[in-house]
Symmetry: C2
Subunit: 320 residues, 2 copies
């Protein structure tokens, strides 16, 4: 059996982990810890998992193999470090953490323990993304990536911590990480600058610029209530031989090339967000979204947020 525990259940992405427990016989949910006992109980009950309000106590008592971290954003960094120190692998909802100090502590704990941290970047596993990776060679050299990620705020149902900068971490820290990751994936960028701008904590843009490539990731919490979808997530890839529009929310990939008019590309099946990472851990492997990658894209999102809070000055970065 692979023993999975949850350290922090404030975000409903906890379901990414429980979906795998539901799907895979050899996965067992052994415990759920959250400062809110009620919340921990709600997620634990269907699995007869143990309930804790202190994740340290949980780690000592149940000794899980893998820890899913999905608590209040500001609490995640410490939970990840504690789980690593307890000898566990970590599967973390984004954002991984909310400060560069947190990230340094996680980086140090990874190095010391040899355990893995995989960040749940579920856009990687959407059918549209998989198809785009498959055909990206047809686009030539990809010079430009533009993404937009509008989200509905649903103000009445958002918890209070979401509006506390210290606990939330900022718009770009939270939302830009998916498109930063995808942008790096499609361009192969490994160094450059990152800058950011945010308006009123609810609308922002992160920009990555490096040799031969420019990635612009717009994100916001301003999608109108009248919209039929949470957000019309899109990404456009602009290459020397063609362009691709990834219409994630519409499940379409539209490609135009030097020779071919716009056409829809057939899509493969996708994967559930935690499906491949948990299978990799169970098999003793590092997930395809590596520890180094999760740390890098988190650093870039945190730097974009820092840039946004200091006038948009571009900050240098390089792959470690």
């Amino acid at each position: 059996m692979t023993r999975i525990a949850i350290a922090g259940a404030a975000h409903p992405h906890v379901a990414y982990a429980t979906a795998e427990v539901d799907a895979v016989d050899s996965f067992e949910l052994v415990a759920v810890a959250d400062p809110s006992r009620e919340l921990a109980e709600r997620w634990a009950a269907p699995y007869d998992a143990k309930v804790f309000t202190d994740h340290q106590a949980m780690l000592r008592e149940v000794e899980p193999d893998i820890v899913m971290v999905a608590g209040i954003y500001g609490d995640r960094g410490q939970a990840v470090v504690d789980a690593l120190n307890a000898g566990c692998h970590v599967i973390a909802d984004k954002p991984l953490c909310t400060t560069l100090a947190d990230l340094d502590a996680i980086t140090e704990a990874v190095r010391r323990t040899g355990r893995h941290v995989t960040l749940l970047l579920e856009k990687r596993y959407y059918p549209v993304t998989l198809a785009a990776l498959e055909i990206s060679g047809q686009l030539g050299t990809i010079h430009g990536v533009t993404a937009s990620g509008p989200h509905k705020l649903n103000r009445p149902t958002r918890p209070a911590w979401f509006f506390d900068r210290a606990q939330y971490g900022g718009l770009l820290t939270d939302l830009a990480v998916h498109d930063i990751d995808a942008g790096l994936l499609f361009t192969g960028l490994t160094s450059g600058t990152v800058s950011g701008f945010v308006v009123d904590t609810s609308y922002g843009v992160a920009t990555l610029s490096g040799p031969g490539a420019l990635i612009t990731a717009g994100v916001d919490w301003m999608n109108p209530a009248g919209s039929p979808m949470h957000g019309d997530y899109r990404m456009k890839l602009v290459g020397t031989e063609g362009t691709a529009e990834l219409l994630w929310a519409r499940n379409r990939l539209v490609v135009t090339t030097t020779e071919l008019a716009p056409h829809d590309v057939p899509l493969p099946a996708g994967h559930r967000p935690a499906e491949l990472p948990l299978q990799a851990f169970a098999a003793g492997n590092e997930p395809d979204i590596t520890t180094a990658r999760g740390l890098l894209v988190t650093r870039l999102a945190l730097l974009a947020q820092q840039s946004a809070e200091t006038g948009g000055v571009p900050l240098p970065w390089t792959t470690p």
Copy 2:
């Protein structure tokens, strides 16, 4: 009669002026000057207009009321100044000029002569833009504007000067000015910072950030040959009460609000690019695209280009 002359005919937008001569009985095309006599002759012939290779000689000899400037980009600044000094109003294809020194010289000539310079910002007069201005109040406070302006390069038919930085002026100088202007129009932004990034002279983004608003204008010369259109020009407005998608190339305006699902807004008729400006000049008025506005948006595009060529550092700006 209103006597119109053309000083520089390198760009086919010369047709913006001749279309008005065709449409309005009281407009007369009296002369065309271009360093290429062949080019000048081609535009002059249908109107029996005089032909010059030197615009200074033309200005002295025919004493026009209005001068249309549409030459090689790097030559435009001097042509604008010379036309102003000759006592003419100027209607200028974009870019107005290619350097901040040119712009300063134009600004000085405007102040000294009291003549007007109107910049041909034809997106202003598209049906979609007019409709968006009409309904923009439904969107609440507009915090975000994102534009994308892909263009086909059509390499074999581009003249050589287009690939000479000194004569062309740069991607953002050339293409970003329309969306910068529209962004200011919808947000009312009057100061802030402007930054830019360009990849390989062919793909770039200009960003304007100021109190309560963020404008991102992506432009490129990478639209694939297989595309059915020159470019799928788009702009999205994100407000506190709704969003609008201006799909210029598709002639659609799609609005979503807090209460209403996405819906198409009926479009009015548009105006030809030079229609209102030339009528304003003929009536003795300043065009709705004022001299101050043309100078401002040109300055912003030049600053974005300067930022792009110096690492993307945000440069401060304010409305004079």
